[in-house]
């Protein structure tokens, strides 16, 4: 590596430097979002209202959600893509390099705006910013927060455009099929480009509604459900935008650690395409309780449930590949196995939520929080960590400590289960999400969940410690370590 430390603080077009920039900045925000989560779970663990007031609590969960999605997972996935995409395509440069650089610098701009908004009153209407609550919440904080989201969604759009251009322009004379990570990245980027303009338009309307008194776009004649539809048209595929690259990287790691190409690889690519397509037409799943026309509800239910079929197909293709191989249990491989296991829990709880009658009971409860955290932490985060361990030796030329990596794996898996499975049970007991006090009878579940959050936080600190010291003073990576 010829990079000096200072080159990481400068605008660049080098994908390897961009990868480090994205991952470092996104994980700094992860620590911030995690601190908010620990504050909230601490508050919920003590009976009554002790740590935070109701106002501070709603500010905490609003910013926790928006930080974890827009400032941690999405940019971290972009960083992983900058590291892995050129490698699987056999390139050293990516297409539209200046756009990629812009995509990165929008990240600290949006992030700092969001942090500033937190101290200037703060957004407090949930990361879903339901209208008219989000138009009525007073204060500069909520307005700045909307502005920061616009910057961050623009960043996502820049990244997606760059990845799409890189993949499409890489296909020259050779006719071999695209590697799984490139397919996943292609579909994820296309989803981002289709859905993000809708959210930017809706956020723009929200901003105008907040800044200009008088006729308003969202709370006025266009109808209240316009915001909900526009928001979920982005936020439902957002799960696939983050999940598909995780699926892609797990596929690559399975290939590397079994020493054979994925079985039914072409069908797996088709399955990923189906996941993306269905993700685009399932947003109404979040509006079942909002008085949708009954037949429309059923059609959204069918597309939401159907996405289980291609996802199950991908898992079965992975299992068969493992079945016929001698598996090498490197740290990235362990996290990939963890991804499959925890992603299964997310998928099954998602199947419950897709059913209209079950959803009318569980919508807006802790069950939904449990499901989304299993999907984002058990699923996307596990795939992301697997991918970061996987590209680390290549990216830095250094080897991380395998034993610490395996300890991290155990703590991560234990933490995710302990933190988020109790949320499913709390929701089933009839407790809505986003309330500051759970009431009596659920102390044990909440305590387990808080304990899990602490374990998960410690595991993540161990991960950052391992990588930081390996990079600074680790031994050089052997060639075999760069391909496992």
């Amino acid at each position: 590596m010829s990079q000096t430390p200072r080159s990481y603080f400068r605008p660049t077009t080098d994908p390897a430097v961009l990868a480090v920039q994205f991952i470092a900045v996104s994980f700094a925000f992860f620590l911030l979002g995690g601190a908010l989560a620990l504050g909230m779970t601490g508050e919920a663990s003590v009976p009554g209202i002790e740590l935070l007031g109701a106002e501070a609590y709603s500010r905490a969960f609003t910013n926790h959600g928006s930080i974890m999605i827009f400032l941690w997972l999405m940019p971290a996935v972009a960083g992983l893509t900058h590291a892995l995409l050129p490698r699987v395509l056999g390139l050293t440069r990516s297409a539209l390099p200046r756009l990629a650089g812009l995509g990165f610098w929008l990240l600290p701009a949006g992030g700092l705006t969001m942090v500033a908004s937190f101290f200037l009153g703060g957004a407090s209407s949930g990361w879903t910013a339901s209208v008219p609550l989000s138009t009525q919440t007073a204060g500069l904080g909520q307005t700045l927060w909307v502005g920061s989201l616009i910057l961050l969604v623009l960043s996502l759009g820049c990244n997606a455009t760059g990845f799409l251009a890189t993949i499409l322009s890489s296909r020259g004379k050779e006719t071999r099929s695209l590697p799984p990570f490139a397919v996943a990245s292609l579909i994820s980027s296309a989803l981002a480009l289709i859905s993000s303009p809708v959210l930017i338009a809706a956020l723009g309307a929200l901003l105008v509604d907040r800044l200009v008194a008088g006729p308003s776009f969202l709370a006025g004649s266009l109808g209240l459900t316009l915001w909900q539809n526009a928001f979920w048209f982005f936020a439902h595929p957002a799960m696939s935008i983050m999940l598909l690259p995780a699926i892609g990287v797990v596929s690559e790691i399975i290939q590397a650690n079994t020493g054979r190409p994925l079985i039914a690889g072409r069908s797996v690519s088709l399955a990923m395409l189906t996941v993306g397509g269905l993700g685009l037409v399932s947003w109404g799943q979040h509006l079942f309780a909002s008085g949708l026309i009954p037949t429309v509800r059923v059609s959204f239910m069918l597309t939401s449930m159907a996405v289980g079929v291609p996802l199950a197909f991908i898992v079965l293709a992975w299992l068969t590949t493992l079945w016929v191989s001698k598996v090498r249990f490197s740290t990235p491989m362990l996290f990939s196995l963890g991804f499959i296991s925890m992603f299964l829990l997310a998928g099954l709880s998602g199947l419950v939520l897709a059913s209209v009658p079950a959803n009318l009971y569980l919508h807006g409860t802790y069950f939904v929080s449990g499901h989304s955290h299993l999907a984002l932490f058990g699923g996307v985060m596990s795939g992301l960590i697997a991918g970061i361990y996987y590209v680390f030796p290549n990216l830095t030329g250094k080897a991380y400590d395998e034993n610490l990596g395996k300890l991290h794996f155990l703590a991560h898996v234990g933490g995710v289960h302990l933190a988020f499975l109790p949320m499913l049970l709390i929701g089933l007991q009839g407790i809505p999400r986003r309330i500051i006090d759970l009431g009596p009878g659920l102390e044990l579940f909440q305590l387990a969940s808080s304990g899990g959050a602490v374990v998960l936080a410690s595991a993540s600190l161990l991960f950052l410690y391992n990588l930081f010291f390996a990079w600074r003073s680790g031994r050089p990576a052997r060639l075999t370590e760069s391909i496992q």
């Binding site: 209407s125 079929v309 016929v324 001698k326 299964l344 009318l360 006090d437």
Partner: protein, 232 residues
């Protein structure tokens, strides 16, 4: 060898189905089910959890075994590439599960939303941070929802400010209260008791405290309560 494998697979699949049935008959997702809707949701969730248990145990077992199999056995046991007919099975099994669950969900939905004869109409207006309950037939306005057991009720919702969501967990279903249109929820309370209505859509700093008492009474008691103008 081949017959032994078929026997083994059959035993494993049967025990997964057994585990699913055990879970479906043991769990009580809605222990307080107090309306016709809640009973239906309770059944649906039990079947779904049973199915999910079987799938979860099956896939986790397969995952662990597939991962260590190559290390337990000699590589001669590892086959080249499986036949493409296997891909059809990978599609058919999840598709069957999804279809069964979809059809069952639609059936439950139709039963839930079937029109009920002679419902008691109640108008509920949500506002930060309380529920205002009005009985249009008698003109009574109160903050407690009283319903007679056994008689269908049609609850009509409106909000005076932001979006709220009316949820009595014991009744099984929730519905949003919107400022720009009326939504409705039809149900028949099945047994008497005192329950709670909460707000399930974040509506501001007082969201957690937006709770109303719900009393399901014998029809006679309900009529007396209504006559007395909502007093206790």
């Amino acid at each position: 060898m081949r017959e032994r494998n078929i026997l083994l697979v059959t035993i494993l699949v049967l025990s997964l189905i057994g585990a699913g049935i055990a879970v479906a008959s043991l769990v009580r997702p809605l222990p307080q089910a107090a309306s016709d809707r809640a009973v239906l949701v309770d059944q649906l969730l039990r079947v779904t959890f049973g199915l999910a248990t079987a799938v979860f145990l099956g896939v986790e077992g397969l995952l662990v075994f597939a991962a260590v199999r190559g290390r337990l056995f000699q590589t001669s046991a590892l086959i080249a590439n499986p036949a493409t007919s296997l891909e059809l099975i990978w599609l058919a099994v999840p598709a069957a599960i999804v279809i069964v669950l979809s059809v069952y969900s639609i059936r439950v939905l139709l039963l839930m939303e079937a029109p009920r004869s002679d419902p008691l109409q109640v108008e509920i207006t949500a506002g930060q941070y309380q529920w205002e309950i009005r009985y249009p037939d008698s003109g009574l306005t109160t903050n407690e929802l009283h319903l007679p057991a056994g008689r269908p009720a049609e609850l009509l919702f409106r909000s005076r400010d932001v979006i709220h969501s009316f949820w009595v967990p014991a009744f099984g279903a929730k519905i949003d209260a919107l400022p720009d249109r009326v939504t409705s929820l039809a149900l028949t309370p099945l047994r008497t008791g005192e329950f709670e209505a909460v707000c399930a859509e974040f509506c501001g700093a007082g969201h957690a405290g937006m709770i109303a008492s719900v009393q399901v009474e014998e029809p006679i008691e309900f009529e007396q309560w209504l006559q007395a103008g909502g007093g206790d």
